[in-house]
């Protein structure tokens, strides 16, 4: 997917004005936050579970080469094939090649963020394959020709009215009279439409929530069951996953699943959690004839060697964005690439370049809530701050910010100068604002005063008053 993160300020402002989006986001965020909290309140050792989740991922990443090779060997032993993709282009070529070789016409897809990362839909459609998203949320945004705005609930920004309209246009040629339809009706209609696609697909593409090194299994987590229909019915199953998705053992997967379900949707497990190992076996009544795993690097290996290795612990649960006030105000599209919210603000600059996503590390209040809910304890605010450091060192920080820091730094590092300036400055501002208590407008502070008054200082500095107090006491 082409990044539009450069347009963040414009898109964010537009999102703030979008009434329907605001309504959808408010509802979603309350739901996600509340459900997660309820599930965690019922799990007394949740902090210990987070510790373990972090330990599992840290260990796996420290031995990633070993586990990648173990996984590959196990997949081959189960009759599957492993493909290595260094870049998005590699992954596109591999998946297109598999579909062509299978003589495929129709391809069904279950939600895969790695697939979004390498623009699989566009590439497969261009190559002439009828490509159908089967997760209801993904299906909705595919009809709307939009990217996902959330990694767990891709259509979270769509209201029921908008979904009714989309279905009317795409399923009924705009002939339906009822404007707003009920949820069961909409879900049922999508079920019927997609059932036919499932039954006639030649290739099924899924992501993987985890890759299990010891068995060569991929773990798939859904509530709809669409991933299972996608990997069971077509002749060919392709799973695409980042190399960081590994865990050593099935036991480790069990632990990570406890974390994932609670953090993502507040469930203690998802409705369908499936471990797929190789293609159909002799005697199996169903399942695909061939099974492929595409292991995607696309910049991940580079992150292993620096402090962003911590970001590779991410299990794509979406808790950080559910708890992010900025995401809650502007939604996912403003972030401009596949991954929105806090985790996206770290990943997008790393994957698409710091220069093209200057706003993302800065569009954060460093309030730390994302880190406190992250199931694998990624220090997201620290990583965002570190990206700001890189921006500063490479001269990508806004000129205005640099200028203010330079002036402030020059004063603050000289206490006597600082005391003189602040005494004079605050004295003046204090006198000017004494009557009203606040300023409607101030030179150089329009970004503040556009929407807020600037409270006036009391007029003396604390250090002045303190010295006065000391003198009076003597």
């Amino acid at each position: 997917m082409q990044s539009t993160a450069r347009e963040f300020p414009l898109r964010a402002r537009r999102a703030l004005d979008d009434v329907q989006l605001r309504e959808a986001l408010a509802k979603a965020q309350d739901g996600f936050v509340g459900k997660r909290q309820t599930s965690i309140d019922a799990f007394p050792e949740f902090e210990a579970l987070r510790d373990r989740g972090k330990a599992i991922k840290d260990h796996t990443l420290a031995y990633l080469d070993v586990y990648l090779e173990q996984f590959e060997k196990a997949v081959i032993a189960a009759g599957g094939q492993v493909h290595w993709a260094e870049s998005a282009e590699d992954a596109q070529r591999i998946v297109t090649g598999i579909c062509q070789q299978a003589g495929a016409r129709r391809v069904t897809k279950a939600k895969t963020m790695a697939g979004e990362e390498v623009s699989l839909n566009e590439v497969l459609e261009t190559a002439g394959f009828d490509t159908v998203e089967t997760d209801l949320g993904e299906y909705i945004i595919q009809l709307a020709k939009e990217p996902p705005s959330h990694i767990i609930a891709p259509a979270v920004h769509k209201t029921r009215q908008q979904i009714s309209d989309l279905f009317n246009t795409h399923h009924h040629g705009g002939r339906l009279k009822t404007a707003l339809r009920e949820v069961p009706e909409l879900v049922d209609e999508a079920r019927q439409r997609l059932r036919e696609k499932f039954l006639t697909a030649d290739v099924g593409i899924t992501g993987a929530n985890f890759l299990v090194a010891e068995t060569g299994s991929i773990a798939l987590v859904t509530n709809e069951g669409n991933a299972d229909l996608t990997h069971t019915l077509p002749r060919v199953h392709v799973a695409i996953a980042g190399i960081e998705k590994l865990v050593p053992t099935l036991d480790d997967a069990a632990c990570m699943l406890r974390l994932l379900a609670r953090s993502a949707t507040g469930q203690d497990t998802s409705t369908y959690t499936t471990f797929v190992t190789g293609p159909k076996r002799t005697g199996d009544p169903d399942g695909p004839e061939s099974f492929h795993v595409v292991l995607l690097d696309n910049g991940r290996s580079r992150m292993l060697g620096n402090r962003y290795r911590e970001m590779l612990r991410c299990i794509r649960c979406g808790a950080c964005m559910n708890h992010c006030p900025v995401y809650g105000a502007i939604g996912g599209h403003a972030y401009g690439w596949v991954y929105p919210g806090p985790m996206g603000s770290v990943l997008t600059p790393l994957f698409t370049g710091l220069d093209d996503s200057r706003d993302l590390p800065n569009a954060c209040t460093l309030n730390g809530r994302c880190q406190s809910v992250c199931p694998v304890q990624i220090p997201l605010p620290d990583l965002l701050r570190d990206l700001r450091r890189q921006q500063f060192e490479r001269g990508l920080t806004a000129r205005r910010t640099r200028w203010v820091l330079a002036v402030w730094g020059a004063i603050a590092r000289r206490p006597r100068l600082y005391h003189l300036f602040t005494r004079l400055g605050m004295g003046l501002l204090g006198r000017l604002g004494k009557r009203t208590g606040a300023f409607r407008r101030l030179p150089f502070a329009s970004a503040w005063t556009a929407s807020r008054d600037m409270p006036a200082p009391q007029g003396s500095t604390f250090q002045q008053l303190w010295k006065q107090r000391q003198r009076d006491a003597r």
């Binding site: 259509a155 079920r191 709809e224 069971t232 406890r258 409705t271 399942g287």
Partner: protein, 225 residues
């Protein structure tokens, strides 16, 4: 081409990790033991026996269940769930093949796409989460758990295990483990993609019903119906 990509990625990984040369799985496993392997994963605490816990959680997922006192009761129980026009897909499982299916029931041992009701046998269940475990294999087509409107699952109470880890211990000794598809299922298919409203029957079964066989069910005889 593909092989060189593989080597390049692995080399980059090793460079990133500052790992010189090949490291063995044994080394990794030893490190795993040291880091966390000796301790079990924290899990959801629960009281009472596994069957009761399973039933209670399973009901919370909108699953339904009833108790049978012997295998021979299965056909009647299935018949009670059938609509007038429905035909039944029954897994080609030894337990089910031997049963006396009433002649007026259209019983099929395939997994046709339009079947309204399917019957399979669970390989295990997880008490912690109220989850059924079904392994694909000659006796168990995966499609039966996905395609019908109603999925009926036979579950023996002695295979209800405390947690997922216990399921691995239980199934692992019997190759071929893991199967092509190991499905863990907690209730009927659902979606919350339209305005976060939970709606059952997204793509898979709208109804999931368990027929419990065996001891330890205590006073309860049915639930969630």
């Amino acid at each position: 081409m593909m092989n060189s990509t593989r080597e390049r990625i692995l080399a980059k990984v090793r460079r990133g990790l500052e790992a010189s040369g090949q490291r063995s799985i044994a080394m990794a496993h030893a490190a795993r033991e040291l880091a966390y392997g000796e301790m079990p994963s924290p899990r959801q605490p629960w009281k009472g026996n596994a069957t009761e816990r399973f039933c209670q959680r399973f009901e919370a997922w909108a699953g339904t269940w009833q108790r049978l006192s012997r295998v021979g009761e299965i056909p009647m129980a299935v018949q009670a769930l059938l609509g007038p026009e429905d035909f039944v897909s029954v897994a080609p499982h030894s337990l089910l093949r031997e049963l006396d299916w009433p002649s007026q029931m259209a019983v099929n041992h395939e997994a046709p796409a339009d079947c309204r009701l399917a019957v399979s046998v669970a390989d295990a269940a997880i008490a912690e989460t109220g989850t059924l475990v079904l392994c694909s294999g000659p006796q168990s087509p995966t499609g039966l758990a996905l395609l019908p409107e109603t999925h009926v699952v036979i579950l023996r109470t002695e295979t209800i295990l405390p947690d997922m880890e216990a399921v691995w211990r239980h199934l692992q000794p019997e190759p071929p483990f893991p199967p092509r598809s190991l499905n863990t299922i907690s209730g009927p298919s659902r979606t919350a993609d339209v305005e976060q409203t939970i709606q059952l029957g997204a793509h898979g079964p709208r109804r999931l019903h368990v027929l419990l066989l065996g001891e330890h069910i205590g006073e309860m005889s049915a639930g969630g119906i």
